[in-house]
């Protein structure tokens, strides 16, 4: 097979990566706007809406993504890579745009959450089919000595999709009030509407692409698979490689990916209580500075092999996750800040009536000597004939500290810590497309690589927040206990990968 010229491969990489990036963007904005979407479509107090909300969160990632991998993987091996990943793009873009058009629960009742659930499931289905197609397509155009480097462009898309999603939401949110953003037809819908423009451009570009040369050759020779599912999972020789890919590489990579990017963000917001915008700025800087390393490790994998780069990323996660998250927790510990000569900045008081009593909420902003800020909220019920001394004790016990804004030095340190974790991601994730492509034959490649990829990322990775909550509920005294899940999975994957995988690159994927 003649690999594409350097100009040709540039176009191939760009058109494949752009579409995949947009699909990730589409998938992430739903998760990032979950609170607003929940208030708009899944109101509290309605059991059916609550059930649909849970299904939208869990079914889309865990059930539908692997199912999409099977459906579109099979199609991609039967009718071709190009048509299939064009279809997934249309499906993803269409459902994202339509989510932005669904009226809220207050307007159309239970139809609203039902429609949103349906569209979210379509998003999950489309995502399940996209990645395998794009990775396969680029790999099948690449020369063997640059397969890792070229496919690493595809590997940047998941992180860049997150970056664009964060950036668009921040840009919209910073240009309007919270009320305008959260209104029924407010700013939260803009990121969904923007998607249709991005998808339109990407579809136009992808329509001009040609079918993968390896797949075209198979088709001309009449050697394409008639039943890719059976050949992928029904034949022992291939199925054992699917299992090895999942347990020896992708499940560890999945948890490293989610911990470094999603769990880090959620931990900073919900456990460390960093202020909304600063939290996202930390993530944006970390991502922006680490993303080039996908290309570095992709290219390095062409020289020294895929195995040890991926496994080193996992091992570093196993060793350093707890120290990194612990440092974040300690550096923004309000207990330590309260020991300093912190000064008062501003106080707001709000009183609301509740029967005969009234509820007082005091929101006070303080600044530490080293210029970090935090907000203390005290909520108190003002009862008639209360005991004043008890009231003061109770008020201080109920104080909640939120919206921490770090000073410049700590802010920079947090960016560095997030950057380190995303470097682990780039190591574990950059070579994986080339690794998976080289593991399976052309005629069933799309199917065989898509399923382990989406189980590893969608299921093992997607479970990080759920298991973290589960562990933190069972072991309440350790705020870092949730990390034991990604650490255990990554450690297990490291052992399996180190023992069973080989470091040899498959030079010839034309088989």
């Amino acid at each position: 097979m003649q690999a594409a010229s350097s100009k040709g491969i540039g176009k191939i990489i760009f058109s494949s990566s752009l579409g995949t990036l947009i699909e990730w963007y589409d998938f992430y904005i739903f998760g990032m706007l979950a609170k607003t979407i929940s208030a708009e479509f899944f109101p509290e107090g309605n059991d059916t809406a609550a059930l649909l909300s849970t299904l939208a969160i869990f079914a889309a990632g865990f059930l539908v993504r692997p199912f999409g991998a099977l459906v579109f993987g099979r199609l991609g091996d039967m009718i071709g890579r190009k048509s299939t990943f064009l279809l997934t793009l249309v499906l993803m873009g269409g459902s994202t745009f339509l989510i932005g058009l669904v009226p809220g629960y207050r307007s159309i009742g239970i139809a609203a959450p039902l429609l949103v659930l349906l569209l979210r499931l379509l998003q999950g289905l489309a995502l399940g089919g996209e990645y395998g197609g794009a990775a396969t397509y680029v790999a099948e155009h690449s020369p063997e000595n640059k397969r890792g480097y070229y496919t690493s462009w595809i590997q940047t898309t998941a992180t860049l999709g997150l970056f664009v999603a964060l950036g668009v939401i921040m840009a919209v949110k910073s240009n309007m009030s919270d009320a305008a953003f959260n209104a029924e037809w407010g700013g939260w819908r803009y990121p969904f509407w923007i998607s249709i423009l991005l998808v339109g451009v990407s579809i136009y570009i992808r329509l001009k692409m040609k079918e993968s040369p390896l797949y075209s050759k198979l088709k001309i020779e009449g050697k394409t698979s008639v039943n890719p599912l059976k050949e992928s999972f029904g034949h022992k020789a291939n199925f054992k490689m699917v299992l090895l890919a999942l347990f020896g590489a992708v499940m560890g990579q999945g948890v490293v990916w989610y911990t470094g990017q999603f769990y880090a963000q959620s931990f900073l917001e919900n456990t460390v209580k960093i202020e909304f915008m600063q939290n996202r700025q930390i993530m944006l800087w970390g991502i922006a500075l680490a993303t080039p390393f996908f290309l570095v490790f992709g290219a390095l994998s062409d020289r020294i092999g895929r195995k040890w780069i991926m496994l080193t990323g996992m091992l570093l996660g196993v060793i350093f996750y707890r120290p990194i998250f612990n440092t974040m927790l300690k550096d923004a510990d309000t207990k330590e800040w309260l020991k300093t000569q912190y000064k008062f900045i501003r106080e707001d008081r709000k009183i609301t009536m509740s029967g005969q009593d009234s509820i007082l909420q005091m929101t006070t902003i303080y600044q530490t000597p080293d210029r970090s800020r935090f907000t203390r909220i005290i909520t108190d019920t003002l009862k008639k004939n209360r005991d004043e001394s008890q009231h003061i004790i109770q008020s201080n016990k109920n104080a909640v500290y939120i919206n921490k804004v770090l000073n410049n030095a700590t802010y920079t340190k947090f960016i560095f810590l997030v950057w380190i974790m995303i470097i682990f991601v780039t190591m574990a994730y950059a070579p994986i497309a080339a690794f998976l492509v080289e593991l399976f034959p052309t005629k069933i490649r799309y199917t065989s690589m898509s399923l382990p990829y989406h189980i590893g990322n969608g299921v093992f990775g997607g479970l990080v927040p759920f298991i973290a909550t589960l562990l933190s509920t069972s072991f309440v005294n350790d705020p870092l206990v949730g990390l034991w899940y990604p650490i255990s999975v990554a450690a297990l994957c490291f052992i399996i990968g180190a023992l069973y995988l080989k470091n040899k690159k498959d030079k010839n994927i034309n088989d």
Binding site: I57, F58, P66, N238, K240, L244, F440, T469, N508, D511
Partner: protein, 81 residues
């Protein structure tokens, strides 16, 4: 190395049902109609156990293949698959 791979196969075979046992027990202890978190709702547990059961079966099969020496020599090219 091949001997170690085979011995580890037994561990993978045992690990799979252990994971499912802990998931079922986790569901049993945490599902609570008075709770408000996702871990208190039955639907996530049903989905997770439903998706993890075939994965655990896959881990058992992986262990079995490992024990039988199927991973002693990995294929050199797709032609061997």
């Amino acid at each position: 190395m091949n001997q170690l791979k085979r011995v580890m196969g037994i561990i993978w075979m045992i690990l799979a049902p252990v994971v499912i046992y802990f998931l079922v027990m986790g569901a049993f202890h945490n599902i609570n109609s008075a709770g408000t978190k996702d871990i208190n709702k039955p639907v996530p547990w049903i989905i997770i156990i439903a998706i993890f059961t075939p994965i655990a079966v896959g881990l058992m099969i992986f262990g079995y293949y490992s024990l039988k020496g199927e991973y002693d020599k990995l294929p050199e090219s797709s032609g061997e698959l």
